[in-house]
Amino acid sequence: MTMIFGIPVQALMGQLLIGLINGSFYALLSLGLAVIFGLLRVINFAHGAQYMLGAFVTLLLLSGLGINYWLALVLAPVIVGLLGAVVERTMLSRLYKMDHLYGLLFTFGLALTIEGTFRYFFGASGMPYPQPIQGAVNLGFMFLPLYRGWVVIASMIVCLGVWLMIEKTKLGAYLRAATENPTLVQSFGVNVPMLLTLTYALGAGLAAFTGVLAAPIYQVSPLMGSQIIIVVFAVVVVGGMGSILGAIITGYMLGIVEGLTKVFYPEASSIVIFVIMAIVLILRPAGLFGKDA
């Protein structure tokens, strides 16, 4: 068996793959956070809960209505996005004029409510979701389960798609302009409140999409959201929320670092991202890709 640094290649590659998959989730989630923050100036604490909702909707669509994974991949983000739009319109939009911290506190309360409700009805234990793609391919140095390959590719496509939409389309141009100066954009006749609602819905939908991708890999559980969201916050601090691309790259990078830590020093794998965050803050407080101090 081939060894690298005294570690079998298969173990190394296996953890690297897990790191890449976690990185895909981190990238998608921090992308959603960055998109919402960019325009709304709200840190969406409910992002984890929306991710969990995505996974649960997928599970319930299958068990309740017999709707398969591929349809859920479209339906769940739309449903959660709509819920997000309702929350934004009825409640969150009242807080824009306040200190930004109120947005964080409100979405924190929202996250607790959603998580508590699902815990009440479904218990705290995880529920499995059947693998939508069976089988694996032999890459020579390791077996790659096909579904995991799909997750990495799908997340990359969506990240790239959202980035292109923001950078290259007219809607994206409105969005970027509204980030810079909402009053001016509104005076040009663009419906900025609608743009804000759409943005929040997009962010929530992205979180739900991540949840659908995660459902067959992790157990679907009411607690899955709060476990990941704090790590994603650290990712966002490392990347700096000024740049969409920065959020994506940092997500993948830290996922891989976390995977490698599992190989070389497993005890530290749950804290490595927080440690990196602390180091980055000491060396470069604005974050790796951040412009604002």
């Binding site: 009242r94 200190d99 109120y102 964080l104 924190f108 508590g116 650290a234 927080f274 803050l281 407080p285």
Partner: protein, 332 residues
């Protein structure tokens, strides 16, 4: 953390004399009530209440008077509980020495976390404190002295100054009450000191405080350490009251709880966090016997507070017609 759209008057001018008299009367009545309370209520419940009231007041020192929202205060509260429990149980320290160690440990944690977190402002500050507290949580989960999921159990309360047996419930209660009152006096003195005034000026307008020549970061760090140390005082006491220290006290949910207490009672008021803590602890006690999950209620109260009464119960009362006619001001 005052909303940009609702500026708060500065707290330099003293309140109306009538409000002052009412306040003194209320403090006297509450003190008398607290002295008599163990004859009427379950002492453990009262002590829990006092511990959380002190914790929330310590937290408010940072949020209410400096404008920094820490999402990681459980780290100091739960961390101090571990330090005190370990010192008293394993090293056989006296309770007062154990609590002092808890305070010192929490202050040290506060110094480290504060030094890193104050490098960013506002919303980033909240996220950084949350992440660093989570780092501490994982440390507690894996470190051997905390005994992981079991926690440190059957911690002896010992004898205070080698004389007073704290295993007696009423002795313990009056000890906790004394520490609580001392803690509040420290906070009151701190807030009304020149240091506290500078903190308020940072809260109101950080740029202007910088341009006046204050090294803002040093003041922020000072407030952070002070707040952490007092949170540690509350945590160390809680470990002695309940005679255990567990992971629950270092979770992010606990950090959220203390924010809720402060928000519900009234950010930036001295009485607010105490009343908020009283309500949250009572509510939890009440819900603990029912099937209904606490998390949902906590979440809904959070949302309601943010949407409907951002000043909190006390703050809204001070700002109301009745409060104003009695001579109170919104931020007193």
């Amino acid at each position: 953390m005052t909303g940009k759209s609702e500026p708060v008057q500065s707290g330099l001018a003293s309140a109306h004399p009538r409000a002052k008299r009412i306040r003194i009367a209320i403090i006297m009545v509450s003190l008398a009530g607290l002295l008599l309370a163990p004859h009427l209520f379950y002492p453990i419940f009262l002590m829990k209440l006092l511990c959380f009231a002190l914790f929330a007041s310590a937290f408010n020192l940072l949020l209410g008077y400096t404008g920094l929202l820490s999402f990681g205060h459980a780290c100091f509260f739960g961390g101090a509980a571990y330090f005190t429990a370990h010192a008293v149980k394993i090293w056989g320290w006296s309770p007062e020495a154990g609590i002092l160690l808890g305070v010192a440990g929490a202050a040290l944690l506060g110094l480290i976390m504060g030094a890193i977190a104050i490098r960013r402002q506002g919303i980033y500050f909240a996220m950084i404190t949350l992440a660093l507290a989570q780092l501490f949580y994982f440390f507690c989960l894996q470190a051997s002295f905390t005994h992981g999921e079991d926690g440190i159990q059957s911690v002896p309360r010992g004898k205070l100054f080698g004389l007073i047996n704290l295993h007696d419930a009423s002795n313990m209660y009056y000890f906790v009450l004394a520490v609580f009152v001392i803690g509040l006096l420290i906070i009151w003195r701190f807030v009304n000191s020149p240091f506290g005034m500078i903190l308020k000026s940072i809260r109101e307008n950080e740029q202007r405080a910088i341009s006046l020549g204050y090294s803002v970061n040093r003041y922020k760090l000072g407030a952070f350490v002070m707040s952490a140390a007092l949170a540690g005082l509350a945590g160390g006491m809680k470990a002695l009251v309940f005679q255990f220290a567990t992971l629950t006290d270092v979770t992010w949910q606990m950090s959220g709880e203390v924010i809720l207490m402060t928000l519900l009672g009234g950010i930036g008021t001295l009485a607010g966090p105490i009343i908020g803590a009283g309500m949250v602890v009572t509510l939890q006690n009440y819900l603990a016997t029912s099937e209904f999950p606490v998390t949902i209620v906590t979440g809904l109260v959070f949302m309601a507070c943010v949407l409907l009464f951002r000043r909190g119960l006390i703050g809204e009362f001070f700002a109301s017609k009745l409060g104003r006619s009695l001579g109170f001001r919104p931020d007193s």
